[in-house]
């Protein structure tokens, strides 16, 4: 009886472990150099129509362990972002974090040095080992963040990166 009860307990525990997301593992798998093999800038209009501009091989992200990631078990990384598609260039050397569901990433203080409202939020649309698709959204001609007015802006820009990891 004791043995069977122990098995039941073990099964429940293992089942729960199997379902638990491991955000630190996901972040550790991001370590390395990711080439931005494709960048798509999509302008979205209120009637649902879109205009796309595609660019190839426009830069890279170099993701490395953060030396001050105390107590986060690898959940925080350093990131070097270099981008130039000929029409637009950007760069960032800072901190990358994710959420516990591994659905989003943030480049912390991308837009400004303040504590709040300065991060670039990124959606992880596809996570397929050595290939990732990330998207972020903007207002045209603006890096504006944290707005309250989705009902007032008729045009938006969706920025999609397709990333491939360098190496084997």
């Amino acid at each position: 009886m004791v043995t069977n009860t122990a098995w039941v307990m073990l099964c429940i525990g293992l089942g729960f472990t199997a379902c638990r997301p491991d955000y630190a593992r996901q972040m550790n798998q991001l370590e390395g150099r990711w080439n931005i093999t494709q960048s798509v800038v999509t302008t979205i209009f209120a009637d649902g129509t879109t205009v796309e501009q595609e660019y190839e091989d426009v830069g890279y992200l170099e993701i490395t362990p953060d030396p001050v990631d105390i107590g986060n078990d690898g959940g925080i990384k350093e990131v070097l972002f270099v981008y130039d598609d000929g029409d637009f260039a950007a760069g960032y050397d800072g901190v990358l974090v994710n959420d516990e569901d591994n659905k989003r990433l943030w480049m912390v203080r991308y837009f400004c040095p303040d504590l709040f409202n300065c991060d670039l939020g990124i959606n992880i649309d596809e996570d397929d080992g050595r290939r990732q698709v990330w998207t972020s959204y903007f207002l045209p001609g603006s890096g504006a963040r944290n707005l309250y007015s989705p009902g007032e802006n008729d045009t938006h820009v969706k920025w999609t990166w397709t990333l491939r990891k360098e190496g084997l």
């Binding site: 098995w7 039941v8 099964c11 472990t17 199997a18 963040r145 707005l147």
Partner: protein, 285 residues
């Protein structure tokens, strides 16, 4: 690790399924699997207050309003795995049981602006419980008192949707995000079982003990990154949240439940109907 855990989990189930259990005859321990539909009620008012204040704030720019939530919005299937002690036949006997419970429920609400922007709110709850039964058993029935420790992992995915069908959890608009909170309750109630061939049909009614655990009514649905630097709170009063963040914060500190979505509102009476299946043998009847 995830795949290894799944393999071990399945192997463990096989071990249980073919294990030798006492209990053949009129008494003993019987491993049981209970499959149920859980009507886990919530207090719909805080979320509906958010919906109403959001619509009020946007006024004429609203094209399709939120559909209100109800007490049964987060009802869903659940399963229990455990042991039942069974003693006596014919005359009234004694029964006791303990189970681990897991349940899952989800719901969705949408909102559209006149410029075809919008929101897609996806609610998900994972429910874990550990229950204890103690009661009496007759020839073809049992009646038990229940005590259950519950943990509900609640997630509210608030997407911003775009006219081309794209959707984002990112921070272009502040309200977007993944708001999470743990609801912990200790419930007491009653359960009945009626034998039907080799299984029991069961019904359970439980209610959370008020005020236990202490201060659970202060836990709000928060959006945060793993560095815990990015913080947002799911507002109950959107107008105040959007127009006066300082006053919102001032009010949120002493009385969160007045202006924020408090996860305790996602708990309430629990009613469950199901089938209790003995895993290795039929109940003695």
């Amino acid at each position: 690790m995830k795949k290894v855990s799944l393999v071990l989990f399945c192997w463990g189930l096989i071990q249980v399924s073919f294990g030798q259990m006492r209990g053949a005859g009129d008494q003993g321990f019987i491993p049981i699997l209970t499959v149920e539909y859980g009507y886990n009620t919530i207090d719909p008012q805080p979320l509906n207050d958010f919906f109403n204040s959001y619509s009020t704030f946007w006024g004429s720019q609203v094209a399709a309003d939120w559909q209100p939530v109800t007490t049964g919005t987060l009802a869903g299937p659940q399963a229990r795995l455990g042991l039942r002690y069974w003693s006596g036949t014919g005359a009234v006997g004694f029964t006791a049981a303990s189970n681990f419970m897991y349940g899952y429920a989800r719901a969705r609400r949408t909102f559209t602006f006149t410029n075809n922007m919008g929101h897609d709110l996806r609610m998900r709850s994972h429910n874990l419980g550990w229950d204890f039964h103690l009661g009496i058993v007759g020839d073809r029935w049992y009646l038990v008192s229940l005590a259950t420790a519950h943990v509900r992992d609640l997630t509210l995915d608030m997407y911003t949707t775009f006219p081309d069908g794209s959707r984002s959890l990112g921070n272009l608009y502040k309200i977007s995000g993944i708001y999470e909170g743990l609801v912990t309750t200790f419930d007491v109630g009653l359960g009945v079982g009626v034998a039907l061939k080799k299984v029991n049909l069961t019904a359970k009614l439980e209610s959370p003990l008020p005020g236990f655990p202490p201060a659970r009514f202060l836990v709000t649905a928060l959006d945060y990154g793993t560095n815990e630097e990015i913080l947002d709170e799911m507002p109950r009063d959107f107008v105040l949240w959007a127009t006066d963040p300082v006053e919102y914060a001032n009010q949120a500190i002493p009385e969160d439940q007045e202006v924020a979505i408090v996860v305790d509102s996602f708990s309430g009476l629990r009613l469950a109907f199901g089938v209790e299946i003995p895993l290795f043998q039929k109940y003695s009847q």
